[in-house]
């Protein structure tokens, strides 16, 4: 894996937050390459720096050491070039805008024409299976539907990279399974590169081509697991021995990461 083909490339990344209680070492020596079209999950206990790493990639936090490039640019340049869509833990839809209006928000800011906006809103609503909800307000939708709308918002301007920070963390198991399945379908249709932060081992194994197991204090990468699972993944793949084997590996990695503390 040459760094030249990597969409996201981190080399010896370090980040220390200065807080009132003294410095917090959020990321330590994090090196990772993510290739185009990969689905990479970050898993680990709280405080392991998985969200912080994603925010560094997005240019929302700035590393205090090491090098990080996104699409061959600095994260800030990539942000200014609108290289990625970001999905937060909460849907964060504007209550005064309809679903369509919320998806139009980035398009308005980025200066797309009115007719282009309409087309894109229609397309992404279909992509996340929310056709016909364009004129509804967020409060008229369930939590799962709101999160799908926020994914549609991140997809609307067709960035190649999709960064997702525990997007389904607040949803119940059944809705989460359904959205995971849809997300995989969406990923295979759009061939985007996805960075996905999660707490859930089954979710990480089911979705990812690569699973980054992290450990806390200081936040660092404990292990990177390449998934042997095929790209085509029906929900019942979770009962196959291969799936269970990968899940084991992740669990062992998480446990070992805790023990080295």
């Amino acid at each position: 894996m040459g760094a030249s083909t990597a969409v996201i490339s981190a080399d010896a990344l370090d980040l220390t937050f200065q807080t009132a209680d003294g410095p917090v070492h959020a990321l330590s020596n994090v090196s990772l390459d993510i290739q185009s079209g990969e689905f990479v999950s970050f898993i680990g206990p709280s405080g392991c720096g998985k969200t912080t790493f994603l925010r560094c990639v997005a240019g929302l936090e700035h590393p205090t050491g090491g090098a990080l490039s996104v699409n061959g640019m600095t994260p800030d340049e990539a942000r200014r070039n609108r290289a990625y869509g970001y999905v937060f833990q909460a849907a964060g839809l504007y209550p005064w805008r309809t679903i369509g209006g919320n998806i139009r928000l980035p398009l308005e800011i980025m200066g797309y024409s009115k007719s282009d906006q309409e087309d894109r809103v229609k397309n992404v609503l279909e992509l996340v299976d929310l056709k016909g909800f364009e004129k509804k307000y967020p409060w008229q939708l369930s939590g799962g539907m709101q999160q799908r709308a926020s994914i549609a918002r991140a997809l609307a301007f067709d960035a190649d990279i999709l960064l997702m920070d525990e997007p389904f963390g607040a949803l119940d198991e059944i809705v989460r399974d359904h959205l995971n399945e849809q997300l995989l379908a969406l990923w295979s249709r759009t061939e985007k590169t996805i960075g996905f932060v999660t707490h859930s081992i089954p979710e990480a194994v089911y979705l990812s081509t690569k699973i980054v197991v992290m450990s806390p204090r200081p936040g660092r990468i404990h292990e990177v697991i390449e998934s042997p699972l095929p790209k085509e993944r029906p929900l019942d793949i979770r009962d196959t021995p291969e799936f269970i084997e990968v899940a084991h590996q992740v669990r062992d990695g998480l446990r070992a990461g805790h023990i080295d503390e």
């Binding site: 997005a58 240019g59 929302l60 942000r79 200014r80 609108r82 990625y84 869509g85 970001y86 937060f88 833990q89 909460a90 964060g92 504007y94 209550p95 005064w96 805008r97 309809t98 928000l105 980035p106 308005e108 800011i109 980025m110 307000y137 409060w139």
Partner: protein, 305 residues
Amino acid sequence: MRSVLPVLTVVVAIFGFWYLAVLPMNAHQAVLDAERAGVGVIPAEASARRDLSGFTLLARNFDVVTAGVWTQERPILPAPHQVAVELWDTTVEKKITSKRSLVFHGWITLSATLLGFAIGTGLGILLAVGIVHNRAMDLSVMPWAIASQTIPILAIAPMIIVVLNSVGLQGLVPKAIISAYLSFFPVVVGMVKGLRSPDAMQLDLLRTYNASKSETFWKLRLPASMPYLFASLKIGIAASLIGAIVGELPTGAVRGLGARMLTGSYYGQTIQIWSALLAAAIVAATLVGIIALIQRMTLKRMGLA
């Protein structure tokens, strides 16, 4: 409709209390009137009555007092029906150009209120925008805004009138400025809170779009502040009316609701004072009601209500 009964109950209770209060309040005058008309009262000497409470006089001269307190020309506390008659006479029965029309005086005060409210709201919003976007303003403006409100308006209103008079401004504008002085403050406080109401995640989202400060303002901060703005406007408009009335008091103004209260107090015309007070209350309630209506319509259109 279910709220009619509780509301009516409260209204009846207030009027009941008001009518009852009229008895002891005006008892001295009623007894005096009766004495002058040759009716026997207890005690018979005015000097002996002076130190008695209204309640004692009422108890000792029950028939005289209950008969005599309702129609006095200058009662200490006019009865509700006296105020109602005065209100009717000075609104419906008078031409609105008449100096005795409350509609005429009401309009004088209302126009200053509305101009002051517009200035105060505009200034309040501008200051809030500055405070939210500029750290120096954040640190410097708020303490002054708070200090400005700790000065009694009655103390500063004459100063404003005098200073503005010396530069040739009279009538409407000085009163409007006193109104603005009172009404900008709730708008600043509410708008600062409202413009800061979007959480870190919503601001981060706009950063991922590389949105400019002005886009963040128009698309996120301003719409998010609307519920706060309307709450402030309701306080602001009532404060504006108070400002306009207070602005009429120290100048010896001859026009406006404040002037009516002032002349009423010069000549002991309590009925006139009360009717001006009531008119001011009606105007204030109407203004707040109009803002509430605009609020409902705006928030409904925004999908927030």
